[in-house]
Symmetry: C2
Subunit: 330 residues, 2 copies
């Protein structure tokens, strides 16, 4: 099991990337990690681990680079060379904490689409806050700005395969993000997607779900067009961040009483924050391509890198991509 | 200034509706309120106020009624008769806390669209949580499931007119909800909408805004296609509610220490909750029709009814609808 690591992507690269890889390398001696990037900088953090190697590259794709153009022009970028090693079968999966658009482009254009999957999608895990149960698989989070009903129907199948591996559900239920729960609701796209999902014999379709209920529902897979999925993900983040900052300033404005109260509540607030911490759940995955293409936030830490690499191992062990290739190959 | 009130819409109708109207009637002796609904039930709460009258109706549209069909079939429903009184010029504006879909249908089909406005939209006010400044006008919140770029461009003009009245901004800035801030980002619909808004000489276009920044930004008007606007609104509500319930259970699980902490923080948390309380800002408005069509949540209280009626007065005083009719009439 060999993982290609983009050593230069993310705000604190290569340090936190190397540190996360070191944790994974110690945990899984049977895996090999190949880190692509500035050899000198990366070696600075390494301790001659047997199952970590470094491939020197001279270019870096930054957060502000235009995705498709940078993939094409920066031929010696850590991400591009790492993706090529996966394409050529030298590695089994690709990991990056860098420019999301560039990773999507590298996954789609270099690693390559699975035959008959028209539009790879970005998939994430949402914490099940209310029921404290299994996290929900949610796609497309924005790989596509114009998902067609046929794409959304494929997301249902792809999401079900990943849900089985990532959450251990035997028969994952699939819900469609829509602007009402009744059948017949929605845009032209979601109405058509509903019909296709409902007639799809390979999934367990549970009908529509509204955005209000996303954090407190019982389905295993949520499918959405990429534009809405992206908007909903960012709204959740923005609202949660705004509320945490409101809470902080409410405490601050509460004077001594507020400060003592906050001190006594510290453990409770910490427990709440950890429930909201998506990094516990690992990264997002570009699905529909010929190998696992994994990402974490640019502001990631070594722990989140490790979580994502643990997920990568699960996906490879369960041969999820091979199963998808087989499913769509007819 | 005469307002038609649907006395039977909402979870606690007619009680909270009548109580809210009574507050408004006491505050504004120069206004008249005509309440439509079950005369006996409504009279039970009235005290012979001079500027409140009652029109008896025999049918009620419930929350589960199919909007367009119920508007057509229940010809003596409180909402339908109230809407007709506006259409016929007997009243100047329509208010309801009932079935949102039915109110949109009554507004569009009975009160009627303004000439050259293709798609009326649902407009709301978002609190500016971060900057404690003016609330932002946000449309379309879901009157349309498939907004076209031309519709979104019209939302920019309509939103600017209402923003001037509701927040007192002389030159409201308009931002487009999109999946990236740079020009050129987005779906086919938002890309085209961007171009139209950017070329529109009648508004002050400020470019794209991402959903993450909706609660903490400085624009006066946000425009979105109705499907995404609806999803974003419901995600905000869902996330805020989930976080409040997480906070509650975190406090509960924190034992005695947590309870004392929560007691000391009570005032701070209350201040935070009131910032999140959309009812302070009044209701949503169906815009693009020939009279102000106002709604509040079904779970509304008398205070929120009053706030919405205060808004209605402002809109009528400033002749916003008349100005829109004139603008689009060429």
């Amino acid at each position: 099991m060999k993982i290609a690591i983009d050593g230069m992507g993310g705000d604190q690269a290569p340090r936190v990337i190397v540190q996360g890889v070191q944790k994974a390398a110690a945990m899984f001696p049977d895996m090999h990690f190949e880190i692509f990037g500035d050899q000198e900088k990366i070696n600075h953090y390494l301790n001659e681990e047997k199952n970590i190697s470094v491939v020197h590259t001279t270019e870096v794709i930054t957060g502000s680079d235009e995705p498709v153009r940078s993939i094409r022009r920066k031929k010696d970028a850590s991400l591009v060379v790492a993706a090529r090693s996966v394409k050529e079968g030298k590695n089994d999966a690709l990991f990056s904490a860098g420019n999301t658009g560039a990773l999507l482009a590298a996954g789609t254009l270099i690693v390559g689409r699975i035959r008959n999957i028209d539009r790879p999608a970005l998939m994430g895990l949402m914490p099940d806050l209310k029921n404290n149960g299994q996290p929900t698989v949610f796609l497309d989070l924005g790989a596509n700005a114009d998902s067609k009903p046929e794409n959304i129907n494929q997301y249902g199948v792809i999401g079900s395969y990943f849900s089985k591996t990532l959450t251990g559900t035997a028969e994952p239920s699939v819900a469609l993000l829509n602007n009402g729960t009744e059948a017949g609701k929605g845009s032209m796209t979601t109405q058509k997607a509903y019909t296709l999902l409902n007639e799809n014999p390979h999934i367990h379709f549970a009908g529509n779900i509204e955005a209000r209920d996303l954090l407190a529902q019982k389905n295993n897979v949520i499918v959405a067009d990429g534009f809405t999925g992206n908007a909903v993900l960012k709204t959740t983040e923005g609202t949660a961040l705004t509320m945490m900052s409101l809470l902080k300033s409410a405490i601050k404005d509460g004077g001594l009483k507020g400060k003592i109260g906050a001190y006594l509540l510290k453990d409770s607030l910490k427990a709440m924050k950890s429930k909201l911490d998506y990094s516990e759940l690992g990264g997002a995955i570009l699905v529909g391509v010929k190998a696992p293409v994994m990402k974490t936030h640019g502001s990631t830490d070594a722990h989140a890198v490790l979580q994502t690499l643990i997920q990568t191992r699960k996906i490879l062990e369960d041969r999820v991509v091979e199963n998808l290739v087989e499913f769509f190959d007819d």
